[in-house]
């Protein structure tokens, strides 16, 4: 599966983001590159601190500069470099053509306005409807995401809803103007398991209906398996592997991905010991030379400490940033 850049809705190229701290500036994204094709679900997989949320924030123009700073790179949305736009122009696209679903939905909703008002606001901001129509549309959206008694509950406040309901409200806000790209940042992490399943079903149904692209930011492999078409694995502010979802689970081509999959508890292997990835996540304030994963990598050799592996295309639709990727494929 070769990706034609013209067919991609989102094209992130060599993105470098750093933050000013008490010491020297800390590089959080170290040359992130990947594309999202139209209509596909891309999972952005990685641990906390790998840079997935920062990537989403940069795309939506949510990085405060200072203390953050986008040092290099481009984010092309439908061919237009978002980083080259003025903040106002960038803002105009958000909510309308691309949107973001936040992780902690209750905190992400404004406590002093009714939820119906907040959903309707998306229409009003982008001038798509007057107040009355927007209110009606927001009730319809609430019904679409499965909130019972929507007409009545539209007048309620966020603190009167459960976590799962709040997440649905966030999703309603994100799909209101039928954007071409939806980024969902850990959409199920803050919820308990039964609610998680419902949200996953909702996302599947929405995707089937609207045909939008979905970028799913998560560290939950189960979610990836259920929803994703392709997977981009991030580690230490870089992309370390990219492949279709079947390939990733069947034959991962980067030691980190392999370790991640191996560390998952398995129902079919009882009494087996858990196999965590040894070592600790990388420290962005003290970056290492060479490959970011080498201290924890079972395959590491001397070369890995000195030379950072290039991000190579090893097979159609498959990338890996490892010196031994080709060997693993063979």
């Amino acid at each position: 599966m070769t990706l034609d850049p013209r067919g991609s809705i989102l094209d992130i190229r060599d993105l470098h983001v750093s933050f000013r701290t008490s010491g020297s500036p800390v590089t959080v994204l170290n040359g992130v590159t990947f594309q999202v094709a139209r209509g596909e679900v891309l999972a952005l997989l990685g641990e906390s601190g790998s840079g997935k949320s920062v990537t989403a924030a940069a795309t939506m123009g949510l990085i405060e500069q200072p203390p953050g700073s986008i040092d290099r790179g481009a984010i092309l949305f439908d061919g237009v470099n978002l980083l080259g736009l003025s903040p106002a122009d960038h803002r105009r696209l958000c909510g309308e053509r691309l949107s973001l679903v936040f992780q902690d939905a209750l905190a992400a909703l404004n406590p002093v306005y009714p939820v119906g008002w907040q959903i309707a606001e998306v229409f009003r901001i982008h001038g798509r409807a007057d107040r009355k129509t927007a209110a009606l549309e927001s009730i319809k959206l609430m019904e679409a995401v499965g909130i019972p008694a929507a007409a009545e509950r539209a007048g309620h406040y966020p603190h009167q809803f459960s976590g799962g309901m709040c997440q649905r409200i966030m999703i309603a806000m994100a799909i209101a103007l039928q954007p071409e790209l939806i980024i969902a940042d850990e959409p199920t992490t803050a919820l308990d398991v039964t609610i998680q399943a419902q949200i996953v079903e909702l996302l599947k149904a929405l995707r089937a209906r609207t045909g939008a692209s979905l970028v799913l930011i998560t560290h939950d492999l189960g979610l990836v398996a259920e929803l994703a078409d392709r997977v981009v694995v991030m580690y230490g502010g870089r992309v370390v592997e990219e492949a279709g979802v079947h390939d990733i689970f069947a034959r991962p081509l980067h030691p980190y991905t392999q370790a991640l999959l191996a560390s998952q508890p398995r129902m079919d292997r009882s009494n087996a010991e858990l196999r965590p990835i040894r070592g600790i996540p990388p420290n962005p304030a003290a970056p290492l030379t060479g490959c970011a994963f080498h201290p924890r990598c079972p395959r590491a050799e001397a070369r890995c400490a000195q030379e950072a592996p290039a991000d190579q295309m090893i097979a159609p639709g498959r990338r890996s940033a490892c010196h031994f990727a080709a060997e693993m494929l063979a």
């Binding site: 958000c94 909510g95 404004n110 002093v112 306005y113």
Partner: protein
């Protein structure tokens, strides 16, 4: 707020007032010979004895308090020796002047602070913020009597644009309002700025931006509503302070309000008026607190429906 809660608050307030008057009552009698407070320093012994008997100060304390309390309940707060009128009357005449002044000052300060504070919070440590901070710092640091005198010097004495003191038409209001507005404005700007900055770091601001809201909307629709609550609290405190704290300004400008009345009462040793004045100011403050409590649920939906 339910009727029940309202009644509870009113009852609490009345108790507070009674408590306050009790404290004043005790304080007066602590000085040994309260009658001295009511008389000029050179009064003769006979006058002292006569007044002692008249005020019932030779009775046991319990009887005294009972009598005094009964009088206060009827709003008979004694007679002003200086004005030869009931103290309550004198106080009620002066109170509206102070209240009017305070209301105008607070309104102007609040409106100004909301706009300036919100804009300053938007780019913390930017140019506008620094200027606003400098301005409000000066406002909070300036002694009001001094700025009043400087203003009088400039506008009244040198330029002859405004009168030096007195009460009357619009031009008499300009200087008192202008000098009084500094400090509340300074304090409120910092409060609004602080709570707006806190609001800006809240997650729902990022949601608003992700929805595509431009800066003006983010500031004035999303952040401001949330920042209002601390501001209302502080505005309430400032209102209370203004109720009794315009004393110095009223003295400088000869404004016939309660502050000046009480200062005069001190200088004239007219204690009945002083006592009545304290009660009036305390009552106003209590009222302001109740109003603030009533405002909270209107602003913050999370507080509504709490029993």
């Amino acid at each position: 707020m339910s009727l029940n809660q309202l009644l509870q608050r009113v009852l609490q307030s009345v108790l507070t007032l009674i408590g306050l008057m009790l404290v004043v009552f005790v304080l007066i009698r602590l000085t040994g010979s309260p009658v001295n407070l009511f008389l000029p320093l050179d009064a003769s012994d006979e006058m002292r004895e006569a007044l002692t008997a008249q005020l019932g100060l030779d009775q046991p304390l319990g009887v005294q308090f009972g009598r005094w309390f009964a009088d206060a309940a009827r709003l008979d707060l004694g007679a002003s020796l200086w004005h030869s009128r009931p103290a309550a009357e004198v106080v009620l005449e002066a109170l509206p002047h102070t209240l009017a002044l305070g209301a105008i000052v607070l309104t102007l300060a609040t409106l100004g602070a909301v706009v300036v504070g919100a804009l300053a919070a938007f780019r913390p440590h930017g140019l506008f913020d620094r200027l606003a901070s400098a301005g409000s710092l000066m406002g909070a640091s300036v002694p009001d009597f001094w700025i009043a005198l400087m203003a009088v010097l400039l506008f009244a004495v040198s330029l002859h644009w405004l009168p030096t003191s007195g009460y009357g038409g619009a031009q008499y209001w300009v200087l008192p309002v202008a000098t009084l507005v500094f400090r509340p404005f300074g304090v409120l700007v910092q409060i609004v700025r602080g709570s707006m900055i806190a609001a800006f770091t809240a997650p729902y601001i990022r949601t608003a931006r992700a929805k595509g809201a431009q800066n003006r909307r983010v500031i004035f629709v999303h952040a401001l509503r949330n920042a209002l609550l601390p501001m209302v609290t502080v505005a309430g405190d400032l209102a209370a302070q203004l109720a009794g704290g315009v004393t110095v300004i009223e003295t400088v400008f000869g404004w016939p309000g309660i502050g000046k009345l009480m200062i005069d009462a001190i200088l004239q040793r007219d204690f009945a008026v002083l006592q009545a004045g304290i009660l009036a100011v305390a009552a106003v403050i209590v009222l302001i607190n109740i109003v603030i409590d009533l405002l909270y649920p209107l602003i913050d939906p999370r507080v509504r429906g709490q029993t």
